[in-house]
């Protein structure tokens, strides 16, 4: 006689399986902040040229903090003045630009820093700015200067000083890097 099917396992009480948590090992951080990539000289040349032209022919109200740049070419502090005749007249603001080694193919990370963050419907109280050219609409043909001009014009066209409606929640939950935010661009007409 032939047995058709043999059960491979008996229906026995299931023993408890204890899964031991694997130890989490954090990878060693590289000492050098800047990962090596692409063509460093081209990257530096472009930043140098941008810096020179910003120092020589700065757009109105814009000045580079040259001391900060001398310390580190990949982080610039830029002062920007509120224009006359706008809601920000007489105010001084500071922007921080951070460039990674893919700049200008990757956009710079730009935030307001310091004690005076402009009260504006597109600027969060932590300094993050909701501006499409800083992420989706970035083009390598844009520059620090064109970003400064866009931000200046964004401030100038403001008609009511107020924070974005979702400020509290956003500031509590956002990533430190504003480029990690999936922005829903606020209505430009504000």
């Amino acid at each position: 006689m032939l047995k058709l099917f043999k059960k491979t396992k008996d229906k026995i009480p299931k023993s408890e399986i204890i899964i031991e948590p694997k130890e989490l090992k954090t990878p060693p951080l590289s000492k050098c902040g800047k990962p090596l990539l692409l063509d460093n000289t081209r990257w530096e040349r472009r930043l140098h040229k941008e810096l020179m032209s910003l120092i020589k022919e700065p757009p109105p109200g814009v000045t580079v903090d040259t001391e900060s740049v001398q310390q580190n070419l990949s982080e610039w502090k830029i002062n920007i003045k509120g224009f006359e005749g706008t809601l920000y007249e007489g105010e001084d603001f500071q922007l921080l630009f951070k460039f990674n080694n893919k700049y200008p193919f990757d956009s710079p990370e730009v935030t307001f820093i310091g004690n005076n963050i402009p009260v504006h419907p597109h600027v969060y109280s932590n300094g993050h700015i909701c501006l499409s050219i800083l992420t989706e609409d970035w083009s390598p043909a844009l520059s620090v200067q064109s970003v400064c001009l866009s931000i200046a014009s964004m401030l100038s066209s403001c008609r009511e000083k107020k924070r974005p409606p979702d400020n509290t929640l956003y500031v509590k939950t956002c990533n430190k890097n504003p480029k990690k935010t999936k922005w829903w661009y606020h209505d430009d007409s504000v």
Binding site: K11, P13, R45, K49, S146
Partner: protein
């Protein structure tokens, strides 16, 4: 037919159709009347399984067909087709009745017939050095290049720009010009020319092929992991298609073949199950306690008839309802139906359990149960193959032992159908037809459980001819019940019998 192939797939190449689905008749051995597939689906659904190369080839054919009429450059036509989701009729319609300016603008292409293009060309034949707006280098004109929009950058910057877009952002057909605010798209020939790195080129080719398949209504990637075939149909419909890798799925939604429930309800159901995953986790768990002695029991086979292995208990019970097996075994399998009265009693007893949840859990439980049984039955194929080999060493020929494989095939089909009948039933409003449906479901369920149980138990006291006769009787009955159920549901679709709860 080659016996080795039987356990993989029976599709060889090129044209396949659903008509031969599961059709593994072996001449003399099979009674044709009882083994015929459901007739409703025999109107041929034509489709082709394409390899990656064939997809690329198919893409070129469409471009050529359009170009016979439009007489534009191949790269431009490709961008236009992509814009119209590879629907050439739509493209022609827009091309011939709209205004050409608007037509090209919407597709993010410079109008090849506009005079401006000429001006750009002339401008670029100038001889003095130009400055690249990205790297700020002053370079001879032959180191600079650009699209028809006239925005020119150096070759190195283009290469880096395109590489970043392809590798970092995963863009293919939708990479636009590097100039700020310019939405003119970079065509594939330009990309291939400007990017020398093979790795990037391969990635780019993958990206554009992928967008071709994904936006084309008549194509669908086989959803099976690691499978690179795509299915091409003549008209998109909810139909069974079988990939060359063996995976069977619904062309319209890409899910496993889910007859009799329709795609939209299945989609709702899957979403609901995901949303309710916490509630369902405990039900989906693979263990239960013996209702009598509380020993933990693991289900390791597809059959719902359980016998407690605690030698002091040996309780016979039903895995689904945990009730005694006795009424199940002798009469019809009795726990498929969500009995409204019983549910009401349960609600009274446990007021905490909201009725909608209870109702959902009822269907979910049965749906999951069949899904899990199906996984076990797929393992059964391996053991069946071994048994068939053993039988051949005794007194049966290869053809004579095929009934066993056929039985498992049918068992799996029935489980799959049953699984989806619970999704169908969950959204169904009660009426006379839905009650007939539930009866059909109950009949199929009991027939399936009987077949499953028979195949799983040790069969020792009978001779092979008897076993064969019994297995065949059982699977033929299952097939019959399945056909009855599906035909009834389809008739309902045609005659508008089904009312839905949502």
């Amino acid at each position: 037919m080659d016996s080795d192939n039987e356990f993989l797939d029976n599709v060889d190449s090129g044209n396949v159709s659903s008509g031969d689905e599961g059709d593994e008749d072996f001449g003399m051995d099979v009674d044709p009347a009882s083994s015929t597939e459901r007739q409703l689906d025999t109107e041929e659904y034509q489709y082709k399984v394409l390899t990656t190369d064939e997809i690329v080839q198919h893409q070129r054919e469409i471009i050529d067909e359009v170009n016979v009429v439009l007489k534009l450059s191949t790269p431009t036509t490709r961008i236009l087709l992509n814009h119209f989701k590879w629907d050439k009729e739509k493209l022609f319609e827009k091309y011939f009745d709209g205004n050409p300016e608007e037509f090209f603008k919407c597709a993010h292409v410079i109008n090849p017939f506009s005079k401006g293009t000429e001006a750009v060309r002339q401008k670029t034949t100038r001889n003095h050095p130009e400055e690249c707006e990205i790297c700020f280098s002053l370079l001879p004109p032959d180191s600079m290049t650009g699209l028809e929009c006239g925005h020119r950058f150096c070759l190195t910057c283009w290469r880096e720009y395109l590489t970043t877009k392809i590798l970092t952002e995963g863009l293919g057909q939708t990479i636009s010009c590097a100039a700020h605010g310019c939405d003119i798209l970079v065509d594939d020939v330009t990309v291939t020319k400007l990017v020398p790195d093979t790795r990037v080129k391969v990635k780019y080719q993958q990206l554009i092929t992928n967008s071709f398949v994904e936006c084309n209504q008549l194509l669908r990637w086989c959803p099976s992991v690691d499978c690179t075939y795509a299915i091409k149909v003549n008209y998109a419909e909810s139909r069974l298609v079988r990939c060359k890798c063996g995976h069977v799925f619904c062309f319209a939604c890409g899910e496993n073949w889910h007859e009799p429930v329709q795609c939209r309800w299945l989609k709702k159901w899957i979403k609901k199950c995901d949303d309710d995953s916490e509630t369902s986790n405990w039900i989906a768990a693979n263990t239960k306690e013996c209702p009598k002695c509380s020993v933990t029991i693991e289900k390791d086979g597809g059959c719902n008839h359980m016998v407690c292995k605690n030698q002091n208990c040996k309780y016979d019970f039903c895995w689904v309802c945990l009730g005694s097996w006795e009424p199940h075994g002798s009469s019809w399998y009795n726990c498929n139906r969500y009995d409204e009265d019983e549910a009401k009693a349960a609600r009274d007893a446990q007021e905490k359990l909201r009725s909608s949840l209870a109702r959902y859990l009822h269907y979910y439980n049965r749906y999951m149960n069949h899904m899990q049984s199906m996984k076990f039955e797929n393992k059964l194929y391996a053991s069946v193959k071994q048994k068939m080999e053993e039988m051949q060493q005794h007194n049966m020929s290869w053809i004579e032992v095929q009934f066993l494989k056929k039985a498992v095939d049918i068992l799996c089909q029935c489980r799959q159908t049953l699984m989806y009948t619970y999704v169908f039933a969950y959204y169904l409003k009660k009426n006379n037809q839905s009650m007939i449906f539930e009866d059909n479901q109950k009949d199929l369920e009991s027939a399936t459980e009987m077949l499953s149980e028979y195949l799983e138990r040790d069969i020792t006291s009978e001779n092979l001819a008897d076993i064969k006769q019994k297995v065949q009787d059982k699977y033929r009955y299952c097939e019959k019940r399945r056909t009855v159920l599906l035909d009834h549901v389809h008739e309902g679709y045609e005659k508008d019998w089904w009312d839905y709860t949502e």
